[in-house]
Amino acid sequence: MGSSAEEEEYAAFLEKVKRTIYFDNLSPQVTESVLKTGIDQFATVKSVKFIHIYHEPSDMPLNALVELDSPAKAKEVISVISQRPFMMCGMPRPVRARQAELEMFDDRPKKPGRKIECQWLKPDDPNFKVAQELKQLTLKHTAEATRFMELQLKEEEELHKQQTDKVKQQYGKLKRIESIVADENVKRLARYYNLHHPDD
């Protein structure tokens, strides 16, 4: 079944994967155009596609696949973003970029020449029990993964709270300073203590 058309398609697809970047930790406010203009600063963006996972909890940050025009550019962008925190649509959570992988594309073409085989096992087949075990294991793994995801989200929330508090404190401090300066108290105190006042 490895017709040349299929192979071509597959090869083209592989090419595409090489020059696509996978972004995550995107804020829900990031739209296609934002992403595009953001990355345009580094390289020409060919297309942007958001990945919709209908399986995971809906509070997850967005993921997107951004296709550039050459694999070299893609690598460049990835390295730039990894070195310095790049923020989109708000701060301070930076977005994360990495090389896209085959499995991230849900509309990918089939690998030519590949055959899928499957069979229904009979209950008296010795492999049957093992298969059942494997099934159980799979379920266990997915449960673990979900749980882990929840933990991760919790941690993120914690960090977020922490940082918000910090920012608020900072902001409060600065505001206080501002108000003091504004109502001339600083000037008065400076004169009283014979200190140099910045405004003089």
Partner: protein, 663 residues
Amino acid sequence: MTVHDKDENIEFKWGRMKGKGGRNKEVQFYESFTYDGVEYRLFDSVYVYKEGEEEPYIGKLIKIWESPNKPKQVKILWFFRPCEILNFLPTNETRDNELFLASGKGRGLTNVNPLEALVGKCNVICISKDCRNPQPPDEEVQKAEYVFYRVFDVEHCKVSDKLDDQIADFDVKLFLNKLDSLKPVDLKELYIDEKEVTGKGMERNEVVVPPSQNNIQSMTREENGKFVEKLVSRSTEYKSSLGEKPTSNVGLGEACKSNIGFSCRVDDKSMPMVTNGNEDCNASLAKQKSSNEKQLASGDGLKRQLATGYDRSKKISGDKTDLRSKIDEGGKRVAIGGSTRQERVKGNENFTHDTNGLVEDKHDRKTKLDDSKRNLNANRGEGVKRRRFVHDDDDDDDIVETLGLDVNSSKDKKKLRWEKDSSNIEGTHSKRLKLPNEPTKLSHDKLHKESSTKSPNGEKKIDSCEFEVTRRLDTDTNKGLRFKGFTWEEHLKSAHEQGRLVLLQNLDPSLTSQEVKDLVLHAFQEDCMAKIIPATAFSSPLSGQAFVIFRRREAAEEAIRKLKKGCLLMSNGRPLVGSVGSPCFPQKRRKFCGHIVIDQLRMMQREMKDAVSTSHCSKSNNVEYDMALDWCLLQERTAYAWGKLFQRQGDELKKVEAKLKAK
């Protein structure tokens, strides 16, 4: 192709006032108005155009008003076309031009639209035998564009031919035939119209005149000149005399502009011709339009309305019901899911923007099933942006049919209307609907054969009782996110509600959606729609998952049961795990950890919304840099942890799989 006049040039004049209302008596209600040369009255049947739809909606005006500083608006009570309520029709016995009046309460009964959404009046006759309905004479029924005698209750989703006393709080008599509306056609005006048209130096004068003489009798009588059936018959008459250049309007009035002519003419021309013809035709149309003020057949008015209607497509309030579709900004057709209603045939080819797209689109219904890559539709039009619909291929026809879409029967209905359809069109259609039965049969046979030679195998290789999952000969179906006009998300939603959604786990991560589909087909002999869940940073590299939507709930449950009890082993030693799929949909307002906004600042920034859509690299001299680094740290840690988790899981799997191979 010229872009037509903008809104300002459309004439508008209020007619009779009806009363005032509103909080401060500032809302003025009206009984009638003249728009673009056509007089509309309350309870008239009208066409409402929505860009992107090939057929306009039909409704009755039940309220007309204007308030200061707000646009003029009308409230419309809808008619349903049979194709829109296929699921609720007791049998498929409907007339070709039958409509159903909406009744009851709830969504889909009425909508408020801006006045500019109207594109013409429609001749709908009520043929109900109800005693309150003045019975129309037979000629009227023949001439009518549409008829109705049944209602569709939007609340209970039922068709009935009993008319309640009130519909939408109006006396039902108001919706039935009016006594004075059953007058004979005013043919004289139409006659004059033709003369004018012919006098404009059209290329087919000789063609135009005979039809008018022959067919005056059969013309419908009203202002917007929908001469559908008549045109068909006419087309046969002068088919032979049609020259190569389809620029002339088969013109009885502007109404019969290009497209009607086209629609008829397409009968004997090949499709490509039509595209060329269209452009010329539009040019000549534009010329005529500008020079012709005649409104009677209102083709011009109609056309202009259509044209401007397209421009104003956004103005149409779209939430008619889950029976109709919405068009979102991205030019995609988004049908409102959540009910079985979403299975509509409307393939959304581009609405033909020539005057009687209204007629044309009936024709287009047939063509719409074709591959959307046809240039035909790309070329048509008057410079207005098209909503293209990306079709999926034959593959989904199977599903489409069993999902309640009566693709073929609606096609047949259209056939009846257009008796003289050419083989050309037929040819192109039939290709589309070819169902790929052969390949699947082959693989089925193979399956049966091989299972008969099945024997418990004690060797390493598990291939003696396998069957191969052959790929169906169709092309890849998963173009983008569309399946027959509905996004995957909508399919998921509706399938989930109906219990048809299954989540398959433990797939090979390199499988594609198409392969999953074939797999399901061969393992369960059930057709389905499948989409793999794309990998993310947090997905296990060991196994993949996919959502599978079966056609029927029982099929889905059966599959899950089979997978639970038995074992479907893949070639790489993985048993498939199936469970009821429960998708999560992104909510409108998601919370996102990590973006901090100072509330006070946010107030000030309300006007500066754009400030949020920036992106930048943070420098190391400010607070946010530190915080960003905190996040980076967190990300790294979690990535590492995930890696560890998957590693451990992989080891566990390997251990158990080793047992498998040993046996």
